[in-house]
Assembly symmetry: D2
Homo-oligomer: 360 residues x 4
């Protein structure tokens, strides 16, 4: 029987719920502790998920010898310090997207993990999403010929937590929050070629009362080899979550819709409990999703990392990938701020991506 890998979670909100659920279906992993600074949050989270230890100070969690892996599911501006602390404690790291606030922070995190010789996974779940994994296989087996256009979008009606509206804490709007998915998705599905340039169109169309960040963005990337990636991100889309990808090639084309197809078309006069993320009301027509975490690949992602730790393998998505994505996000905000296509590599000492667009 394989050794069980023990896990600690930093954070107790939306994404940490998904982490806890995901590890629950990984046979040889066990969540041993959770940490969250808000009084009571960690304790109630631990109780809900049957986790033995709960802390308000994550350093206590890092002191637990039996913990092998720590996941980072806290606000963006706290990622860098947390990852460095985890590495220093000699534990393997899973860090949520986007990686951090600045390229300097990214370098620091990568270096900390390298020096401590711990594994560092950048948690881009789209690289594990079953439908997208199949899409990559179609491309890889030549069903579509040489790709020239990729599209991926993620759209819903607003972020999970209010701190996303505050660009001081989030570093950017929807292009940062969800554009990072598309960028890493494009890199991964193409086998990680270099990004040659980035252009972005951004606006604050619907939520200007709540944020200075962009709430609807289009990002165009040119990759080495000539393929184009178009990312569409929105916090202005009503009627339920949307997550779709397209691959257009010289010999074919493929369309993958993560949610609408994988759902039950439902009409309910009176409404019901839960249809899908951001569905709004469930009266009338809805599309009822099922096995949501599996559908996105979260448990598969965590199982992958557990396997990497156990068998000493490199994760599919690394801190370097997170950094490359972040670099493209900085370039996107620079482009939205200047109206120009921005060539990569792009260096900047900006503290947050959004500063390059707001330019106050």
């Amino acid at each position: 029987m394989a050794k069980v890998i023990n896990v600690g979670l930093l954070g107790s909100q939306f994404i940490s719920e998904i982490h806890a659920e995901s590890f629950a279906s990984v046979a040889d992993a066990e969540v041993m502790a959770v940490a969250s600074p808000s009084p009571g949050h960690a304790a109630s989270f631990a109780e809900r998920h049957g986790i033995p230890h709960a802390f308000t100070d994550y350093h206590k969690l890092l002191e637990m010898d039996e913990i092998d892996v720590v996941t980072v599911g806290i606000p963006n501006h706290l990622h860098c310090q947390a990852v460095c602390d985890i590495a220093a404690a000699g534990k393997h790291v899973v860090c949520e997207k986007p990686l951090c606030m600045s390229l300097a922070e990214a370098d620091r995190m990568i270096e900390a993990c390298r020096k401590a010789d711990v594994k560092f996974m950048y948690a881009e779940e789209l690289c594990f999403t079953p439908k997208y994994v199949r899409l990559k296989q179609l491309l890889d087996e030549g069903a579509l010929g040489k790709p020239h256009l990729l599209k991926q979008c993620e759209k819903h009606d607003g972020p999970h937590a209010p701190h996303f509206w505050d660009v001081d804490r989030s570093g950017g709007g929807v292009a940062m929050d969800m554009g990072c998915h598309a960028i890493e998705f494009f890199r991964w599905i193409l086998g990680r070629p270099k990004i040659k340039s980035v252009y972005a169109q951004m606006g604050t169309h619907v939520h200007a009362d709540k944020t200075r960040g962009d709430d609807d963005s289009i990002i165009i990337l040119e990759f080495e080899g000539g393929c184009i990636g178009v990312a569409e991100e929105s916090w202005c889309k009503l009627g339920g979550m949307d997550d779709r990808a397209e691959v257009h090639g010289s010999e074919g084309v493929a369309y993958a819709d993560l949610l609408h197809g994988n759902a039950i078309e439902t009409y309910s006069r009176g409404g019901y409990g839960y249809a899908v993320e951001k569905a709004g009301d469930t009266k009338g027509w809805t599309f009822a999703i099922y096995e949501e975490a599996w559908n996105y690949g979260f448990p598969q992602e965590m199982a992958h990392f557990i396997e990497c730790v156990r068998d000493d393998k490199q994760p599919e998505v690394t801190g370097e990938d997170g950094r490359a994505t972040l670099e493209a996000i900085f370039a996107a905000y620079e482009s939205a701020g200047t109206g120009r296509k921005v060539e990569l590599p792009f260096e900047t000492d900006a503290k947050r991506p959004i500063d390059l667009w707001l330019r106050e």
Copy 2:
């Protein structure tokens, strides 16, 4: 760590492949042996799946003390004897659909398992299919009101193995091969009310050169409480497998399509490896399925049975359920043979369902 449950497989064809794959993802189960009478089949199957023991005579497999559970994935006319033998060996049984050839056989199998005090699961995977599980939840939570019409269909271009064409071995055509899915699906989703009557329309439209069995059937069931079930089964449907269900209720309606939505819409000029069961050519437009076993609920089904064995619980679908389904299948063939709605309970000493339709 939970005790590992050891499994033996009878059969080495299509469905046993699925059994092996499914147990591979069940953490606390391990397939220890496989048996198949055709020389070499079991051995190559065992090698392909990393199974330690292979036999041509399944009695050898039953002699292995360490085996806890045995699955039956062999032709219909061999089910009864195999299940009785397994029970006599004191092992828990998973028996594939349809349960067996006659109601007398069903009674014998149920009694054998009862007497040996072993668990007996009738392997109707639709009760574990994630999309249909969600559909049942929608119904159960009241989203659709009181149901008055259920539909379920399974359609493709012909059975997996040639022995299905031979009614002496299969006992019936498509109404028996796939109608059993719909019947148990209806019973399960409604909470297993009694079936009041069955009417069936059957024909041999396209494959009369290969079989005397029905290749396209429509079965209408009336349930206690007034709900109607309409099952459509076909071996004449080109263009890839079709498996869909609908629930129509007083307060809403829901449509669940197992394959088309859960797939990547793909156009490939040159074609590619595999799209979906019975897809035919993969040139042009296809719908590329992914995680096929999971999509149908096979691993979930096997995990459920392992849990039942380990924790001494009653399986979700029992031999009695298999018998009730078979009774409705007999009634369906009787109806197709007489042009009348057949009331249940229906008793018959027919040896095979199809005899009631062919009436030679």
Copy 3:
């Protein structure tokens, strides 16, 4: 320039609105008069559509020499007398579905038109519905091989006018009101083979407080040559009108959905004016239909009849077709009443189809 054909309308409700709209797009037809017994109805209808003459007594309309064609859009139990009167006045007739209340009435109407030598079109618009016309072409050009299974359904949440609930005036429930569409559709698409048998399952599931008629019905027809037709009709389907057809053949299969595809997928937080027939609320997700009359083929149907009158041709759908459909409806109610497949030709002196099911 072609001679203009002058039209009179009997009736001022739902279907007569469609008649008026449809003739408006037929270049060489002009609606000259409308008759409705309810005081004020004809006058306001005439004003709304710019029709010069309005009557409460339709005999006055029939006295107008300049009128060439009269359409019958009044309750079912008044069809027979109206058609006989129109024929006696020497005018061509378009009679709405279902043809009339009994087979004896049908014979009387057909004979009256034959004797008066006027054209008699049975207004089954599905024979002119553009998508279904294309579907017939696919079948006729061999794209699908030999057909073995046809399906057509029409489902919504209840009839347009309260008199449909009263079986004394309507003669039957949803199997009569909408089953007639499917039956004539099957006959037409197959080239009008004889119907060999009819089986029907009927129930009053949701509207028992309002009617003794069936509100959900399934009708299975066997045609000469072996093809099966399955008609599904419902007055219990929420969430908007549904009208679909399928043709399953030895060489292919085709699916035609009249409404969902031909619509704009729309999410509106606040709702809007009109989405589609029986949509219910327009808040949330709806499918917004457009050019509704054209989509169903109503203007095409009327243009066809005008052409028949002008060029002295036989209509595509005749009184005899209406009678054949009605015969199948009678057989369907007989089947639902007896639980038996009913062979055709079926003779009955029942006054209304539903009497054969209710059998009080």
Copy 4:
């Protein structure tokens, strides 16, 4: 009875076929003549459509007194002279898209029609496409709130005629050939606000062996009031024509697919005659379109112009609209050439849009 308007056609290829068919369904229009320089083309076209007069020299057509309206369906680089000649002959003009080769040409054409006091319609059929007309109504009636993002795409596997590959005759690639549809569509649906800026990404991905023009383009437009338009155009998309639009607003979202929904989902083992534009093979799955011209709005467009001529009204889409679209196309090529967002108004004396991208 209304006066009949007599029509002459310049051109005898793809689009002129559509013009002839479209006028055939306009009650008060009659095509009297066709002109095409290729020997025999006009004559055989005339015979096919029952047109009384055929010319190789279009000046002969313009000399016919009885002709009221002339349509221009010839290669782009001949539009300007033809329109000026038609206007000089005192006839009303319908000019196909794109309007012409340069902004100077556009000015000349508009001025010629103004001076001759003839009506000038820029033939953007999307403004008459029934599904898009309904989409505009949804937006106008407030169903979607304030729009912030519009999308429209047109994609297939290459142009109708080889002269499109030759940028000397076409003036540009797919951004010019089909981008003009999207640009005018956006202007029209928004009520024709000013375009503030244009950004474009262009490439020659698949057809570099045949053309120097762009075969896959993405154009982003900013409109006064803040709405963004994203046009996607491709000559690299296999598997049949694609034409879709989306409107994203503060209160809702709507998706309109011109082809896939308005089609019959068809699987044919042996294939059949015609499925849809650029479908490739019809074996396997296809989507069979029907009433194609109507679906795109061509007859409606021509009926509209006939009505404008007869009733002396301004066309819905004018030469000025064609010019505004062309200005945006020039800006798009300038943007693709410079990697910058281009502000409008944009003045250029470039002879052809593509020169601003190729910059040789």
